[in-house]
Symmetry: C2
Subunit: 336 residues, 2 copies
């Protein structure tokens, strides 16, 4: 990481984009020039980086031969529309939008290093996993010496920032309307989310799974190197602004030693274990933090081969922006 | 149900107590005299029943020989303190507070009839199952012809009314404080619940399970007549006033025919199946309704022997008060 590189950040005005800019500065990332890009509607705004204001420019006209690495932090359509242009310009990319198939752009968990990854040819493209996959894979990878998972069950209670800034604004708007006893007209989501729980994120396919649920399952399997692992995922939206809450059950192939699980989690890189009896929450613990918080570590009520956990994680920071910057730090050491 | 009976309602001023009074009237329950009881602090209030105001009296001084049936809808401590007095007076009881062991007071799901119940001697005591157990057992009993469950995984996203009226008030208070940017001091719950998710309800035991989680598992096993069924339950509190959202996974012993599952659920007594692609929510569908709403019916992403469902249910009405009145209707036909 001795040499500084030029970076393009696509989707600079979104929640994750802003967090990326902050983290590139905070972590003293070797950026030479930072190019902030967005759709032409958002272009013209400015963000602060290393004490100066950087103007957000239009993505359409940008020449990617000027940069070595691009972060895609806008919507999946933007990645789909521009990733080939970026690669054709010789620029590598990290996709935070889950737009690219994992076979083409493998997902990376920085804590696991590059050992499990296929060799990357320049310019490379990799996927930053979805926030819940980051949290689950980090915990399960930590437990790998102890526990070969046979089956995962995940209920992900996702915050409204999963939908980007508009999701956060919609929760605030709906909550205020309801508290002021005004009639509610949902925008952006299809029904009341304030003081309610929505059972799915986006549309579902013919089998009833949301794209996010399938992606999450595929990412966890790839990150753990367990292509046959059975994963059941339900992703719901809860009336929370930031931070995800995950109820995770792991079926092992033998009785699980809960004390040993706690010892492995306690002090593992990127994980903060909350003491037994207490529990972490998204807002009270995880939001604004780099670690993933784990609590409620217990066996099944009647099944000693089962491990149940509660995970709270900042979906914007560790789940997305920090993880992507850590991916960049890892990969430019080896591949740039 | 030809003969009218005298009834005592303990905990008349709570959420569930008020719903019970409404339902006894709505369903034209054969009540002769209705005695509303509460702690001495709440005594003195009045509730409307059949067009007149009924005064809430103090539980301490009440003579239970005047009544044939008592509903316990106050806290578990109240049931523990008074149930023996009630039975000694020859009065049968339905406990809505989960205070009595299931071996002593079996739980009843009215839709299943009395066939699975042990014979009850007068005065009898039965438990009204916890709201999530009602919803899950109703769905699973409907699916019994098709599916022998081997294992259940339940993530219950419970509304704040689970904690009674104080829980509802605390969510309203915290939400208003936060929207007005005032400092938050949690009361009744131990941390911020507005715009957050709490990973457990009440304290946990040495194995890490909350009492509610163990109770729920035991109730589902008893109601389904499957004492060895493996049940994993995580009960969390979400910032919702009324209505529970349940993510339920059922592991079967053979591939599950999803179309047949939908056909069984569609039109089953007490169940409303939401069409594929759509999904039910607690607030948008279930609250105020007598049915349990089911949606997101699907197999596992990679496991055809797994069934995943989303259930939304009114925890105060079908989950507690209506179910208890239906229990009373069923049992007084046979046992009073």
């Amino acid at each position: 990481m001795s040499q500084s590189i030029n970076i393009a950040l696509i989707g600079a005005t979104g929640n994750v984009g802003e967090a990326l800019v902050e983290l590139l500065e905070e972590r003293d990332f070797p950026v030479k020039d930072l190019h902030l890009l967005a759709s032409s509607e958002s272009a013209g705004q400015s963000l602060s980086f290393r004490g100066r204001q950087v103007r957000v420019r239009s993505l359409e006209a940008f020449d990617f031969t000027q940069v070595q690495l691009a972060f895609f932090a806008a919507g999946a359509e933007v990645t789909r529309a521009y990733h080939e242009t970026v690669l054709a310009a010789g620029c590598s990319l990290i996709d935070l939008s889950s737009a690219l198939p994992l076979e083409q752009a493998p997902c990376v968990l920085p804590e696991l290093g590059i050992e499990g990854l296929p060799a990357l040819a320049k310019p490379w493209k990799v996927s930053a996993p979805t926030p819940s996959a980051v949290a689950c894979a980090l915990v399960l990878a930590t437990l790998k010496p102890l526990l070969q998972p046979q089956q995962l069950q995940l209920t992900a209670m996702l915050s409204m920032s999963t939908l980007g800034r508009s999701g956060v604004q919609e929760l605030a708007r709906q909550t205020a309307e309801l508290l002021n006893a005004r009639p509610l007209e949902p925008k952006g989501v299809d029904r009341q989310v304030a003081f309610n729980v929505l059972a799915q994120v986006g549309a579902v396919d013919e089998q009833g799974h949301a794209e996010l649920e399938r992606r999450l399952a595929a990412e966890i399997r790839q990150l753990l190197g367990l292509p046959a692992l059975s994963v059941a995922a339900t992703c719901a939206l809860v009336p929370v602004f930031f931070g995800d809450s995950l109820a995770l059950s792991v079926q092992g192939d033998a009785d699980i030693d809960i004390t040993a699980v706690q010892q492995l989690l306690d002090g593992a890189q990127g994980i903060e274990l909350v003491e037994a009896g207490d529990y972490p929450t998204a807002v009270g613990d995880a939001v604004g933090q780099d670690q993933v918080y784990v609590g409620r570590v217990r066996a099944g009520i009647s099944d000693p081969r089962q491990l149940n956990l509660w995970i709270a994680s900042d979906n914007v920071r560790k789940g997305a922006a920090l993880n992507a910057v850590q991916i960049a730090e890892l990969l430019i050491k080896h591949y740039l």
